[in-house]
């Protein structure tokens, strides 16, 4: 029934290689460790060795920042404080309690995690700039306290005697410290890149792009923000501990805002979203400042010029420059290869190898069969979920009221929808349609009234919990995650990681399963061939369809669509109508739309809002003949 609407050939897509997700993080950390081992084995006791050691110390911190600040865009200026916590902690434990530095480093890192948990549960309630402003106070407070209280060596700093690797000869000590640092950076890089490449990494990416969209896709944003804060803080404390254990002196300047800025400089020069970039940034800044006396004296000028130039070339820093160079090189090579073959290169290979990517042309029968299988599997699993209680309404709103300031946008709205079917919500601009969708979806808290889903009161539930209950929505303006493929954009709503902790992302990744589910939804809509494309290269119709695919990929029981047809041409609207009719057989759809013809043609019941009040409810037939509707919407 459904498959007839899907062009089988177009439904075929190549699956991404699964082994990749593990090879990436291991390869990344292996590269760093190998480079570090070489340097430490041969140059540990020399000047260059000490520079690289210090750079790696900072890289431990910046790798955590790449996850927290770069990738997830949670700008917290608290790294230098936690770095200080780690460093001073080791110094105090070592000097006062004679604890070996290595043990102290571990103890301090764990303790910092606990501190970060407490502090973070307060601080991460803020988002965006509020978070940045609240946390920029931390280094200011710390440095003010240290210098005026005179504890821990006051405004100078605190020496310690026990190095990470206690040895009698300086040579052996340098090598031992170097090896330990390399081991630590290896673990840190592995953990960080493993998280980023897992399903939780995709959650974090969405969180970074748009916190509200993340919540609408089921991401428990408060929890992720707290976990990110703890992760960044623990990495920073670990970096600080290594600093103390290798430099044998903790300067008070380690915690001040300037130190925080230098760390950020390293991150942004290297590339804020890239773990390798963050490590490279630390190496470059440290190397440059150690390279000559002139540079180390005038490091401010050098850093200022360097970051300006790098960011002007590419906002993603050196990592961005390298990857776009590599992409250009690959394209050049592929173009050369294709010319030799005498055939054009496929436009949208994505994860696919060049052979299977040219989907429509050379599809094998097995591939078509696989696409068909996925399509029908999707339909079956959706229908199984949509169930609901027989006869009882799926959604019930009673007395929903919303004020913006003194303006009443929704005035005691009551409506009720069954488990299946298409329903229209119309009204002039400013009638409160989108606000009503927001109230049902959970992004807008009503001042009065109740929203029931399947008989259960969900009025106070946040959007992410409603998503788990089966409420899915699209936005009036297209909200997609730029920089990610179509497949990943759809996979966002198929993640099963919402309830697992950030640490679970290190152990296992279910990104492949989420992508499989997403592929089913894309095949169902006949969009499989788009799955490898980057979303910002798509046409508006396709972007809207990707958003639609994302909304249905979770197999929702209630689908809220906000003006899906706006900006689409007539043939595109015809196609949309077909899709909506199919989806209406599976689930309950509430459609906000200005195209009255479209609404009247496909829906079975229409609600009309005007100035926050429900002025009409009836069948399309009644809708066409209603005097109220004509005067309001058609202007007759």
């Amino acid at each position: 029934m459904v498959t007839s609407k899907v062009t089988p050939a177009a439904g075929v897509r190549a699956r991404p290689a699964r082994s990749r997700s593990l090879r990436g993080p291991l390869g990344t950390s292996g590269l760093v460790v190998a480079a570090g081992l070489i340097v430490m084995s041969f140059y540990a006791a020399q000047y260059i060795g000490s520079v690289v050691l210090l750079a790696f110390t900072y890289a431990i911190v910046t790798a955590g920042m790449a996850v927290q600040i770069g990738f997830s865009q949670q700008i917290a200026f608290s790294q230098s404080v936690f770095m200080g916590l780690g460093a001073y902690g080791v110094a105090v434990l070592n000097t006062n309690l004679n604890m070996p530095s290595l043990l102290a480093a571990l103890a301090v890192t764990v303790a910092s995690g606990l501190v970060a948990l407490v502090l973070g549960s307060v601080v991460t309630r803020a988002s965006g700039l509020a978070l940045a402003v609240a946390t920029i106070m931390l280094p200011l407070i710390a440095v003010g306290y240290l210098s005026s209280a005179g504890y821990l060596g006051g405004s100078v700093g605190m020496p310690l005697t026990g190095s990470l690797w206690p040895a009698s000869s300086p040579q052996a000590m340098a090598v031992g410290n170097g090896m330990i640092t390399v081991a630590v950076i290896g673990v840190v890089v592995f953990v960080a890149s493993r998280i980023l490449s897992s399903d939780i990494g995709l959650e974090l990416y969405v969180l970074g792009v748009d916190e509200r969209m993340a919540a609408a896709m089921g991401v428990s944003t408060p929890r992720r923000k707290l976990e990110l804060f703890v992760l960044g803080s623990m990495f920073a404390a670990l970096g600080g501990a290594v600093y103390a254990g290798t430099q044998l002196f903790v300067p008070a300047t380690l915690v001040d805002p300037t130190a925080e800025l230098s760390l950020l400089m390293m991150l942004f020069i290297g590339g804020r979203r890239s773990i390798l970039g963050a490590v490279a940034g630390a190496l470059i800044i440290e190397y440059v400042s150690g390279a000559s006396t002139w540079v180390s004296v005038n490091i401010l000028v050098v850093e200022g010029v360097l970051i300006t130039v790098v960011l002007l070339v590419d906002p993603e820093g050196l990592a961005g420059i390298v990857s776009s160079l590599a992409a250009r090189l690959r394209r050049a090579r592929r173009a050369g290869g294709a010319a030799a073959d005498g055939g054009p290169a496929p436009a949208c290979t994505g994860h696919a190898s060049a052979g299977t990517g040219s989907a429509v042309a050379g599809v094998t029968p097995e591939e078509v069969a696989a696409a068909d299988r996925r399509t029908s599997a999707f339909g079956r699993s959706w229908q199984a979920r949509a169930g609901g209680r027989a006869g009882a309404p799926l959604l019930e709103c009673t007395g929903v009221t919303k004020d913006y300031g003194g303006l009443r946008v929704l005035d005691s709205i009551g409506l009720s929808l069954p488990a299946r079917g298409l329903f229209g919500l119309c009204g002039p601009n400013g009638a409160g349609k989108t606000t009503l969708l927001g109230v049902i979806g959970g992004s807008v808290p009503p001042v009065a009234g109740r929203v029931l889903l399947d008989g259960a009161d969900i009025t106070r539930l946040p959007p992410q919990q409603r998503f788990h209950l089966g409420v899915s929505r699209t936005f009036q303006a297209v909200h997609l995650i730029a920089g990610r493929s179509v497949l990943d954009n759809v996979a966002v709503s198929c993640l099963s990681s919402h309830r697992s902790s950030l640490a679970a992302g290190i152990v296992r990744s279910r990104l492949a399963q989420a992508r499989d589910k997403a592929a089913e939804a894309l095949d169902y809509l006949g969009m499989g061939r788009l799955s490898g494309m980057e979303v910002s290269t798509l046409t508006l119709e396709n972007q809207r369809m990707v958003e639609f695919a994302r909304a249905i990929a979770a197999r929702p029981r209630l689908l809220l669509l906000d003006e899906p047809a706006s900006g689409l041409s007539e043939p595109q609207r015809e196609r949309l109508k077909e899709v909506l009719r199919t989806v209406g057989d599976m689930t309950c759809v509430l459609l906000v739309e200005h195209d009255l013809g479209l609404v009247a043609q496909i829906t079975e019941r229409i609600f009309v809002l005007a100035s926050g009040q429900l002025v009409f409810e009836g069948s399309p037939e009644e809708f066409r003949n209603s005097a109220v509707v004509s005067s309001l919407l058609v202007g007759l």
């Binding site: 965006g128 700039l129 306290y145 509200r212 300037t258 800025l261 400089m265 200022g304 970051i307 906002p315």
Partner: protein
């Protein structure tokens, strides 16, 4: 009397913060960039005048005029080269975070150059209005330099308010802040406003550096501290509202003075930052943060 004197001191410091906060907020409205280098221009103003006057023995007016001209020319050049490349090209608009870093980098650069030129000692521009502090009958004291600061703040604030309210170009500037694309569609050259206000605020900051430095004294690193306080004050105004930034700046100045006077001189700053952080976390919406976050 102690309270009155603290209040006066607080208002003087606060008006400095307020001026920098307003500079940051006004330019952010027009350009969507937070200028974290605004304090560094103040530092260059103070140390530049001091250097020309004291070391090179220039006459004071010439030293002031030259320093201001250099600051203005530098700001103009920076806008022409860096900001134009960063904002006006084909590239899509980056978030607030990236543009943060351009001004961070600018601040680093200016500080580094100042270190080379002026050294690391504490200096100040010569007092413009020397003499004993003014004493009122009730025992209130006011430094002459402080009065100058207040006067300058009042004059520049008034001029700016008149400009916004009564001139066409002021309205156009408002339009840039309300909706950048919309402003361009109706024929307002938003880039020109970005440039004018960047250069204007840089020179204004330099003026305040010259006027204020006799009170506190500056080093090459002072700029960052001023910028941070201005940034915090502007943040409490949601970055978009110069009026609220002004109030927040003065309030922070008074808070700092009162904490220093009544609680502890040593821990005044620490306490103040603690209170400010608590305010952000407790009432983000009331403090104007939500509007700035764009969510």
């Amino acid at each position: 009397m102690k309270f009155g004197n603290l209040l006066i001191a607080g208002v003087v410091t606060g008006s400095i913060y307020a001026v920098f906060a307003v500079c940051i907020a006004v330019w952010y409205r027009v350009s969507n960039i937070l200028n974290l280098a605004v304090g560094d221009f103040a530092m260059v103003g103070a140390l530049g005048v001091d250097y020309l006057f004291r070391v090179d023995s220039w006459p004071l007016p010439a030293a002031i005029a030259t320093t201001l001209a250099i600051v203005g020319a530098f700001a103009y050049g920076y806008d022409q080269v860096v900001l134009r490349l960063a904002q006006d090209g084909r590239r899509r608009q980056e978030g607030i975070v990236i543009t943060f870093f351009f001004t961070f980098a600018l601040s680093f650069f200016i500080d580094g150059v100042a270190k080379i030129l002026f050294g690391t000692d504490v200096h100040a521009a010569p007092g413009l209005w020397n003499g004993n502090s003014l004493t009122f009958a009730t025992g209130l004291h006011l430094e002459r330099a402080g009065l100058l600061v207040l006067g300058c703040a009042l004059i520049s604030g008034l001029m700016f308010a008149i400009y916004i309210r009564y001139t066409l170009s002021g309205k156009a500037m408002e339009a840039c802040g309300e909706n950048n694309l919309g402003a361009r569609i109706v024929g307002i050259d938003t880039r020109q406003y970005r440039r004018i206000i960047f250069v204007g605020t840089a020179m204004l900051a330099a003026v305040f550096g010259i006027v204020e430095s006799p009170i506190t004294g500056y080093t090459f690193l002072s700029g960052a501290t001023i910028s941070v306080t201005g940034f915090i004050a502007a943040a409490y105004g949601g970055f978009q509202k110069p009026g609220r930034a002004l109030v927040a700046g003065i309030a922070i100045g008074i808070l700092e003075a009162l904490l220093g006077g009544y609680v502890s001189t040593q821990y005044a700053d620490t306490l103040m930052y603690g209170i400010l952080a608590a305010l952000v976390l407790a009432r983000p919406r009331a403090m104007g943060f939500e509007s700035a976050v764009g969510g």
